[in-house]
Amino acid sequence: MSEDTVLDVRHLKTSFFSKKTELPVVDDVSFSVKKGETLAIVGESGSGKSMTSLSIMRLVPSPNGKIVGGEVFFNGKDLVQQNDKTMYKVRGNDISMIFQEPMTSLNPVYTIGEQIREQLIYHQKISKREAHQIGIEMLQTVGFSRANDIMKDYPHRLSGGMRQRVMIAMALSNNPKLLIADEPTTALDVTVQAQILDLMRKLSKEYDSAIILITHDLGVVAELAERVVVMYGGQVVEEASIEDIFDDPLHPYTEGLLNSIPKIEGTQERLDSIPGTVPTPDNLPVGCNFVTRCPYAMEICKQEEPTLIDKDSSRKVRCYLHEEGVKNHGQQHRSS
């Protein structure tokens, strides 16, 4: 792990247990985040991206969900091995999280001020007064002009966009090294989305926090991220820089995702879509997880699961099309 790596996830595996069957929802996921970097995790619903983030925070819903393998190195410590006490100090302090549902993520019975202050007092051991002051500053930073009034307001008096700002203010108030944003703009309308994205971009520079941005929206990815991890069926299928992903996607799934967004110069009547849906964890195909929906599926894809290979120093892909030896066969198949 190099000096400037904040988070290093290695072979993380998280499963849900029902009765006696084990359903892997995060399967052998590896990636790392550098200091100040914004990494996007992209995938459809059910691809395991949210579970990956909850696994990092060790907040996988128990008792059914459990991290069954792998390591999550943060600050040189493997979070998977830490006891609860250590995790209490990490969450909300070193690693913060913003959730998808701003409407329901704030507690309806406490004022905004109370909810911002409690975390500051808890982690920084400061007085209520100081916490209040920091809270007001944080609210101003995220764009509230009447921060003093907002502190006294209850969440139900704020709009979705305002609540998400509050969540961001809360998440950043302890100056975390890593901010995990789980679909931060999905529930908001488009103009508010742009504001929130601008805000996050501005603040990540200002606070020098690394960000893991979880989304299914490639537009958001293009706005914010520097690197992209594409997930499918609980696995990382491709990892690349933002330029490479948009210019030259390697995995057929990434290609499919990109083809399904409208292009400004195109005259397409209908958008391309990837046929079928993400297989559920109890119904994964043999071989490659994507084989049932892949336009380039080959014989080997149905038999053996591909591994994540290093394409070059900054790119990884999990596909036989890009593995030496089987590649040629794939190309033939592609043209036929």
Binding site: Y88, E118, H156, M167
Partner: protein
Amino acid sequence: MTAYIIRRILMTIPILIGISIISFGIMQFAPGEPTALDLDPNISPEDREAQLEEMGLNDPIPVQYLRWAGNILQGDLGSSFITNRDVATMITERLPNTLVLMITSTVMTMVVAIPIGIVSAIRQYSKRDYVFTFASFFGVSIPNFWLGLMLIIFLSVQLGWFPVGGVGTLGGEFNLFDRLHHLLLPALVLATADMAQMTRYTRTSMLEVKNQDYVRTARAKGFKEGKVVYKHALRNALMPLITMFGLLLPTFIGGSVVVEQIFTWPGIGQLFLDSTFQRDYPVIMALTMFGAVLVVLGNLIADILYAVVDPRIEY
């Protein structure tokens, strides 16, 4: 808020009038009359008729109702047909006993039901949860008169741990321990069914809240499990329980009728039962209206508490 409370109190007036008309009517239509229990077998039909006439019981029912209502509005609850004592005095004599019983039961219910409900919800499907679930079904199903009798037989008669009945040892000076000793069994019997019910409500409510997004937010903020549960989940989970509590309050009156009879507890429940058997109309009406006021009050308190606990509700 004040305007709301005033409006609500004004609304109770037609409700109470309606209740009084209906209960007065039902009472009058019930067979029997106060003189039927006169023990003197030599009383002539003419004398009995004269007695009824004197009590005003031969007047048409609406006339009787209006007379009663007029007296009530002047603060006169009338006097008992049987003992000729002032009804207000009879009630105020016995009310403290019933209130002590009700308040103790309420406190017992809350103290037992809420923590058990929380533990059941947080450790859902654990052994403890199953034990509590079984116990609460047991508690709901068990008739209180039977439970009371069994406790008396085993704990009081056979083991001699508790007194058989009454509010205190007869002839003795006031003694707090003695009072509590007498209070425990009747309060427990009165509380059993409600405890069981409230446990289930607390559990359900907590289960609903514990997977809410804001509870996850609280965890993501790094709070310890205890703080997450007691600060962020519990307050939200308690809100629906306030309504339940408002509805449970009047059930104590019904329960006290049975429990007071079994434990010879000189409260208004016992008075209610006696007066009903004796067709002591003024006492029955006074107690019925007392119960009605309690129901209305319970609901009002629940509504007001709701606004206090939930900032989203404004009146």
